[in-house]
Amino acid sequence: MNGAADMGGMHGFGPVVPEKNEPVFHADWEGHSFALNMVTGVANLWNIDAFRFKRESLPPPEYLNLSYYGLWTRTLELMMLEYGVATPEELKTGHAIAPFKKAERAITAAECDNMVRCARPFSREATEPAKFKAGDKVRAKNMHPRHHTRLPRYARGHVGEVVRIVGCHVFPDSHASNRDEDPHWLYTVRFDGRDLWGPDGDPTSTVSVDAWEPYLEKL
């Protein structure tokens, strides 16, 4: 979707302001917002692409006015409602309201510790050979789906060069709608700054994106 999250190339947001000795979390609740997001991932209540899609679907004024972890908490609320983990009444009161369905089992500290240390890979067995190889010129499709996608708007319709075949990976565009993993070949594609931004581009810059095969077309 062409949402507020797709920020590459936007103007008007001002300078980058690094914070000296920035703490990992600026308030206690931020750590909890973070951990809740991780733990609901371990519990497999929904997948990460569905979570991202929900977050970027927030109305742009709301998206841009929430702090980073504020966005996470807001998205968690919406996901819990959508997936039947909580009711509006429960979110309001801050407690489970009986009668409710209890979870089959609780995620333990040990599982979380394990999650931190072990990868949960997104690569899958390929069923057909990759269409492109390193060095191929490809065009990113001019696509504007309403669903989740990981092809940023600024790259669409532009010609780049495949610099790496990453492997065959879960396809977020399908996964976010909870259809299935629908794995596709993933490539790193490099674009010239001048191709992306025209005469306003920095001639010394290139930008690489990781693009799934359905995003690309042969020249």
Binding site: N2, G12, F13, P59, N142, R156, H158
Partner: protein
């Protein structure tokens, strides 16, 4: 500039909500704002393109959460402060605290009202023949200036057809920067929905923009 004001094709803003029997102004102050913008714009030499740019450079979060006339007001206040016409301290105090030079065209009085409630002409005498003829295929340039432009992002780098030549007009891109009227030929360029949005387009859709000659190149 690629600001949040450039909204064509952005998802997530929700439904259009029309208000039955909408009044011209919802609050008395809205009328005062539009009147002040017209008066100061005309007699203070802040042209239409500068006014538009002053609204586009409001912080994105502010732009998206302010009402229409709030944006007009904030932009008027900021442009007058930036031009030294008023001081920030005066706005705070609600009274004039310093001497200021008069407006370019003097005090805005009753004799000026007729001039602002009827529309001026932006048409200018051409010095060159138009570069493109009706029916010609053209491509909009991929430009990404940080300054004011009237070529929307969704229509950049796209092929379309010249449908009409609208005469030679003041060029907003330079006029907004006080770099002169720099008149340019203005064309109606029509695109198919597919040219703009790819396979996600409504097949019955055509969109046209009014494009100044510097936005276009031959295909």
């Amino acid at each position: 500039m690629n600001g949040v004001h450039d909204m064509g094709g952005i998802d997530g803003f929700g439904k259009v909500e029309a208000e039955p029997n909408e009044p011209t102004f919802h609050e008395t102050w809205e009328g005062r704002v539009i009147a002040m913008v017209r008066a100061i714009g005309t007699n203070g030499g802040i042209n239409l393109d500068m006014q538009r740019f002053s609204r586009e450079i409001l912080p994105p979060q502010v732009y998206l959460t302010s009402s229409y006339y709030q944006k007009w007001f904030l932009a008027l206040e900021q442009s007058m402060i930036a031009r030294g016409m008023i001081g920030a301290d005066e706005v705070e105090a609600g009274h004039s605290l310093h001497e200021n030079p008069p407006l370019k065209r003097g005090t805005f009085t009753m004799k000026d009202v007729e001039r602002v409630t009827t529309r001026g002409s932006f048409r200018r005498e051409p010095r060159l023949a138009p570069a493109f003829a009706v029916g010609k295929r053209v491509r909009t340039k991929n430009i990404n200036p940080v300054t004011h432009t009237r070529l929307p992002r969704y229509a950049r780098g796209r092929s379309g057809t010249i449908e009409r030549i609208n005469g030679c007009h003041v060029f907003p891109d330079t006029n907004a920067r006080e770099q002169g009227e720099n008149p340019q030929w203005l064309y109606t360029v029509v695109f198919s929905g597919h040219d703009l949005w790819g396979d996600d387009a409504d097949p019955t859709l055509q969109v046209s923009i009014e494009a100044f000659e510097p936005y276009l190149e031959p295909v």
